[in-house]
């Protein structure tokens, strides 16, 4: 098997990915404490850290959105149904039979079709759910001033935020597991650290 090294993840992208990962892990841990699932840091500290992490991530996103559009990288998230079936068949059958990965990463196409769909769902559904409910939650004390009291209940907002949190956490575990499906277990993670991906030269 010949392997070719290609530079896939740029420096800003890697910085964004890992700092976002750290912030999301922080928010999962503190968030479920605020939810009452366990006691770790104490409710007050958990709330403060959760809030700080949220603002930090929003700031990071502001820069990242700018980066996505100035570099054109946003196109990486455009979905396509082409080859989705091939991807599903690879993950459910091919991967156990040493069938080569049906998708070949290039700097222009970093995400396989299934990944594109998953990230789009994340961006279009889970993210808005979490951010809108989270910001409303954060500004609960100002609902009166904003005239939102009659439309919202704290319970509704909190439950919506919790639903988003559960989906995000499920996504996180699947995402982490799928990093092990490269040609070695840590291949994808190494690539996300160094930027260089080793790509099979099968076809």
């Amino acid at each position: 098997m010949n392997a070719q090294r290609i530079y896939i993840y740029k420096r800003y992208e890697r910085f964004w990915h890992w700092s976002q990962a750290a912030l999301i892990i922080t928010m999962m841990i503190t968030g479920f404490e605020v939810h009452g699932s366990y006691e770790l840091l104490g409710f007050g500290r958990a709330v403060n850290i959760h809030t700080l992490a949220a603002w930090t991530l929003l700031t990071l996103w502001a820069f990242t959105i700018f980066w996505q559009f100035t570099t054109g990288e946003w196109r990486q998230y455009l979905p396509s149904l082409k080859n989705v079936v091939a991807m599903v068949s690879y993950y459910t059958i091919g991967i156990f039979r040493d069938v080569p990965h049906p998708f070949r990463k290039t700097p222009g196409q970093k995400h396989n079709p299934l990944q594109r769909l998953a990230y789009l769902a994340l961006l279009a559904f889970i993210s808005p759910l979490i951010w809108i409910s989270g910001l409303l939650y954060l500004f609960y004390g100002d609902w009166g001033v904003l005239g939102l009291n009659q439309y919202l209940s704290l319970e509704g907002v909190a439950v919506a935020h919790t639903v988003g949190a559960f989906m995000m956490t499920a996504f996180f575990f699947i995402h982490v597991y799928l990093t092990t499906t490269g040609h070695t277990i840590f291949a994808h993670i190494k690539a996300m650290i160094s930027g260089w991906e080793e790509v099979d030269d099968h076809r």
């Binding site: 009452g36 104490g42 209940s153 919790t162 559960f166 499920a170």
Partner: protein, 484 residues
């Protein structure tokens, strides 16, 4: 010299003071609730401690800001009967004795009777020459001893506040703000501010500035409406009273407060035929033939209730519902009420006599040397009849005992900020969370949607499980291929 003679001397210069005091609740023991319009005050409101003033005057009125209220026909119009010294003595030697209708001793007296101990009367001339602003001792002489003894009634007011540590009371400690009662309970023409019948649930006015009404009996009067550095804490103040976080426990000064008073068991005699008195391990009376069973508490966590400024106080003459526990002063409010905040209370448990036919509480004649008083003869038949006759109230002659509850606002004994209640004491799923009685709000950290939690947990478990199984199958299939 007598008390009224001292007062006449005071009035010769302070010629308006007498009439000012005579308008105050300290003199009238009567007030109209500004929220319910009901006539209240000690003369009318029912409690589950001693009971009623009527027929027991010379004992109860030892705390009247006046002299000579010996029976229900007291003349409230005589200004020379105003007691100036009770509030303005600065020597600490002026004492209204317990049984003389507000008078101090004028002659040496053996107290208690038969003890051989002679108590000397205070030197009224010297006291009159040393008058000043009311201090803690003046207010405390009555307010620390409400209900017949130190700490009995309020739970947040007792003699430990005379010299409190900073931990006990950050406002009154000598190494704290070292304030006196009247610094907050400001007086205007001898009218005190602050009320138990209509405590201010929320004070949006905030700081009490010199141009304002000089009513400082709220936290906000000095601390304003946004006292915290953290905005999140300030926002809590919309729904949570300051006291709820800043008074984690009451009766913290080492003196126990009464938590339960059961009159129904009173009157028992011991084997020797004498009235029975039992003390517990701490030296507190746990049973008194005169009063029944008692329970006490120290360092007690308050109960929490919504309160919007309206107290529904039962009067002795009200018709009551005896099918359930009777709440003598229900506080109104709910999560939806913009004026309501969550307040801390000492909930006093009582069991007290009532008229089972007319469905009213009763006046019980407990104090006096006559044949009908309960503390002399231990006979409810006689003592209730005598009390109701004296009060001129209808009485069927049939009595029973009803369980009662009474809410006492916890607002004193404010702890230093580092001892304030911590977030997770309310924001917790623990069964002993502080706000577990407040069920009409969504409390983060305590409340959740059980279905969402079940579905969400399954989703997470499923995603982890899928990864594990998928990975396991990968390992197994790879081994098989390598084995070939």
């Amino acid at each position: 010299m007598t008390g009224p003679e001292v007062t006449q001397a005071c009035l010769s210069c302070h010629n308006k003071a007498g009439h000012q005091v005579m308008k105050s609740i300290h003199w009238t023991w009567e007030t109209t609730s500004p929220t319910t319009g009901k006539k209240l005050g000690k003369q009318h409101a029912a409690n589950n401690f001693c009971g009623s003033i009527v027929s027991n005057e010379p004992r109860c009125t030892s705390c009247h800001a006046g002299y000579g209220w010996t029976d229900k026909d007291y003349d409230f119009s005589k200004q020379e009967n105003v007691d100036c010294l009770a509030c303005h003595d600065t020597t600490g030697t002026y004492k209204k004795i317990a049984t003389d209708a507000g008078h101090p001793l004028y002659e040496p007296r053996e107290m208690p009777k038969g003890s051989g101990k002679m108590v000397q009367p205070p030197d009224l001339t010297k006291i009159a020459q040393h008058v000043g602003k009311p201090g803690r001792e003046n207010c405390g002489a009555c307010h620390f001893n409400g209900g017949g003894g130190d700490a009995v009634k309020h739970g947040d007011l007792d003699t430990s506040l005379l010299k409190p540590s900073r931990e006990l009371d950050v406002h009154m400690a000598s190494d704290g703000a070292n304030m006196a009662c009247a610094d907050c309970h400001t007086f205007n023409e001898h009218q005190p501010s602050g009320s138990r019948y209509a405590a201010t649930s929320k004070d949006p006015h905030g700081l009490d500035l010199p141009k304002d009404d000089h009513n400082r009996a709220t936290c906000e009067s000095c601390h304003g409406v946004t006292p915290h550095d953290e905005a999140r804490l300030n926002r809590h103040a919309d729904k949570v009273a300051c006291q709820t976080c800043h008074i984690p426990e009451f009766a913290r000064g080492g003196i126990a407060t009464k938590m339960l008073w059961d009159w129904s068991t009173a009157g028992k005699r011991g084997a020797d035929g004498k009235p029975l008195f039992i003390k517990d391990d701490h030296g507190h009376l746990s049973y008194s033939a005169e009063k029944g069973d008692f329970e006490y508490g120290e360092n007690v966590r308050p109960s929490y209730k919504w309160y919007n400024g309206v107290v529904n106080q039962i009067a002795i003459t009200d018709t009551i519902d005896d099918s359930t526990v009777l709440e003598l002063n229900r506080v109104e409010g709910s999560a939806k009420d913009p004026n309501a905040r969550i307040w801390p209370f000492k909930v006093m448990h009582g069991k007290q006599p009532y008229d089972t036919v007319n469905k009213t509480l009763v006046v019980n004649h407990v104090y006096g040397d006559d044949d009908t008083s309960f503390w002399t003869n231990f006979d409810y038949e006689k003592s209730i009849k005598a009390g109701m006759d004296t009060a001129g109230l209808p009485y069927s002659g049939q009595f029973g005992f009803i369980e009662t509850r009474m809410n006492w606002f916890i607002t004193h004994m404010v702890a230093p900020k580092e001892k304030a209640v911590q977030c997770q004491e309310c924001h917790t799923r623990a069964t002993d969370g502080r706000l577990n009685e407040i069920t009409d709000i969504y409390l983060p950290g305590r409340d959740r949607n059980a279905w969402v939690d079940i579905a969400g947990s399954l989703l997470i478990a499923g995603s982890i499980g899928t990864g594990l199984i998928h990975g396991l199958v990968r390992i197994i299939t790879r081994r098989r291929r390598h084995a070939k």
